[in-house]
Symmetry: C2
Subunit: 211 residues, 2 copies
DNA sequence: CCTACCGATCGGTAGG
DNA sequence: CCTACCGATCGGTAGG
């Protein structure tokens, strides 16, 4: 039985291999420090063979970054939608954000380090997706302040702090280390509430956990 | 009167110009995306002329990273030493960290993005300096936990969160924007206490500010 | 500080 | 999937 792609437009298995090898190298060394020959060597191929599976080096980068932002946004949005309570929404959104960064280390490293390597107009597209993503957090925190459950002088700074903390996880996290993914996720959820919290948010969160 | 360098080993004014132009471009586009020709063009020179002032492209990167880490460590260490109180020490160290990242955006962008571009053995040297730096925060937080003024399940994660928040400032901060350097610095000081705080740290910090 | 030039490597194409 | 090859660009040197 011949395998058929799920949809006519699906990427071939070989194309996925090429993108995966490229992603690993982009994350380790950076886009400009990775040559098509390096990617080919990781697959025991000659460089020109790659062009049967991808059209250009830049295309690989563009696809990785677009897919990463789309997927991250979707996951966090649905975490946020899973509770009607603002405090709990922030906890869950922060947890989803951090979990994604622990699970997709290569993707988010490239996403955060190679924006300058993206050629226009795609750089602007990605920048817009990133802006929309961070705005979700800013608006959520603004709502919490309005409701009196968060306390912060600048929802913008608080949101950036929370997002940045999660990005940091992708710089050092290794599965199998002393801290498990869940250890990190749950503690960062608490820390996120600490960031927007005065005592009120923290106390509210604790009461909620006890209940 | 001829100008004389402060010390016989001082860099020439022109060498400083070259390094400064390089730093700007490294921060904007990345090390590998910046050519010696680009650096020369920023100074209206031809590329080979640069070699009268620096010995290699890699040398510029190495010097920037070493000087940045040395300077950051010194500043933060002295902020930390300026108070005998653990809570206040964390606030001041976090403030110094963030202030440095707001004031030296180019340096810390390069410092955080181009570690892979540093050739050995210098990469190991820098990695060690970074480790020592983050350990200062980890140990400070551990002390606060032992004293009962901080509350966190993992001083390591809390330290990383605080450091990462500050690094994030270098990604978006522009002098003259809606938030001043001091706005950012003081709020991040508070946020840092929120990260290690339960209500106790926050309340202790507030009481201290009122006093 | 410049022109002239070096070998090496880059992303990508032709053609099978 | 390969070999052969393209023009462009790289960091750096020679020599003045």
């Amino acid at each position: 039985m011949a395998k058929v792609p799920a949809t006519p437009r699906a990427r071939s298995a070989r194309s996925i291999d090429v993108r995966d090898a490229a992603l690993t190298l982009f994350a380790e060394r950076g886009y400009h420090a990775t040559s098509m020959k390096d990617i080919a060597a990781a697959l025991e191929l000659q460089a020109p063979s790659l062009y049967n599976h991808v059209t250009a080096k830049q295309e690989i980068l563009r696809d990785v970054m677009a897919e990463t932002m789309t997927s991250l946004t979707k996951i966090t949005k649905s975490a946020l939608a899973s509770s009607p309570d603002t405090v709990e929404q922030l906890r869950r959104a922060a947890e989803a954000h951090v979990r994604f960064h622990a699970r997709h280390v290569r993707e988010v490293r490239v996403g955060n380090h190679e924006i300058a390597a993206l050629e226009q107009p795609h750089r602007s597209v990605i920048t817009k997706l990133r802006k929309d993503y961070s705005n979700m957090f800013v608006e959520l925190i603004e709502r919490g302040v309005a409701e009196g459950v968060f306390e912060t002088r600048s929802p913008l700074l608080a949101a950036y702090a929370i997002l940045q903390m999660g990005i940091g996880v992708s710089m050092w996290f290794k599965p199998g280390g002393p801290l498990s993914e869940d250890d990190i996720v749950f503690q960062y959820g608490d820390i996120a509430l600490g960031v927007v919290g005065g005592p009120r948010a923290v106390a509210a969160a604790k009461a909620r956990r006890r209940a």
